[in-house]
Subunit: 153 residues, 2 copies
DNA sequence: CAATACTTGACTCAATCAGTCGGGATTCTA
DNA sequence: TAGAATCCCGACTGATTGAGTCAAGTATTG
């Protein structure tokens, strides 16, 4: 029931890109500095997000990253599933990463039925929140007066 | 967002003890066999549950384990918290295992506010379910005709 | 006393996490 | 067209955790 450091960094980076979404790109270095993330590690993470289709990159001098889809098209559930695997606490209630467990009859397993509820609760929240929603929250929480580049994520 | 094998075994064992709750004790060996859990590993787990006050033990020939409190006094949240640590996906929204994170202002962190909701959703389910509830579910799911010792957990 | 069970602590082995590093490929700009 | 800036890729490391295993010990009962 845990989000890894890697996952948290990814969310922060995506949020920065969401807040500055537009035709231009943002450098890894800037994200790393602003969010206090080890640069080399962030490179690795963004590369991963790229091959998963969440972001796109531009190489060379004026290079950097931007979101591939619109911020409203990327749910936290998608991101976290890609980074951390199943959202469900046990494999036997996971929809996207289902794995049979050792109990003799899943349909009659009481533990499974509780974990099913936990899964649904988690997914309910995470499917409903997109990067765009997160950006709205940032603006709500921090008021309208801040310079866009200074937002605290 | 994951329940370890250890955690699952613990729940299964507690559920067996819940189903057979009474003055007598149940042997590790029986639980291990019935639930297909490595015996040595289960010993370790039950020992842990004992020092946490969930179960009590009796040594010697007619020895074994039983629940210390009534099955309705033990919530899944308690058990999992003890076994796996925080229920919250990130430390900065955990009530019982709070840990400050690296962001400059927690109250204005959008990621945190979402994770707060996730935590509340998880805890909402898990606090509401006790071992007794689980036993009811077992009976509901499996019908009233099964021999108490044969319940499939 | 012998058999049965729990008790305790150490130990292994593999996988995952959180990074780090070196060097390569592109692209812009002077 | 050289050189700087930037992303790209794979390998590597060190610490921690997960899932067990094992040996020897202690208590209880018949």
């Amino acid at each position: 029931m845990k989000l890894s450091q890697r996952g948290e960094y990814a969310l922060r980076a995506l949020l920065v890109m969401g807040m500055n979404h537009g035709p231009g790109v943002i450098r890894i270095k800037d994200i790393a500095q602003q969010q206090n993330i080890p640069r080399r590690f962030l490179e690795q993470i963004l590369n991963d997000l790229k091959s998963a289709g969440f972001v796109q990159s531009k190489r060379g001098v004026a290079g950097g990253y931007r979101l591939q889809r619109g911020p409203d098209q990327i749910s936290l559930a998608d991101i976290i599933r890609h980074l951390e695997g199943p959202l469900a606490p046990v494999g036997c209630v996971s929809v996207n990463y289902y794995q049979r467990c050792s109990c003799p009859d899943e349909d009659k397993c009481a533990i499974r039925s509780v974990m099913q509820e936990v899964r649904d609760a988690i997914v309910g929240v995470l499917e409903g929140v997109t990067v765009a929603h997160m950006c709205d929250r940032v603006r709500d929480l921090q008021g309208p007066l801040v310079n866009p580049l200074d937002y605290v994520i």
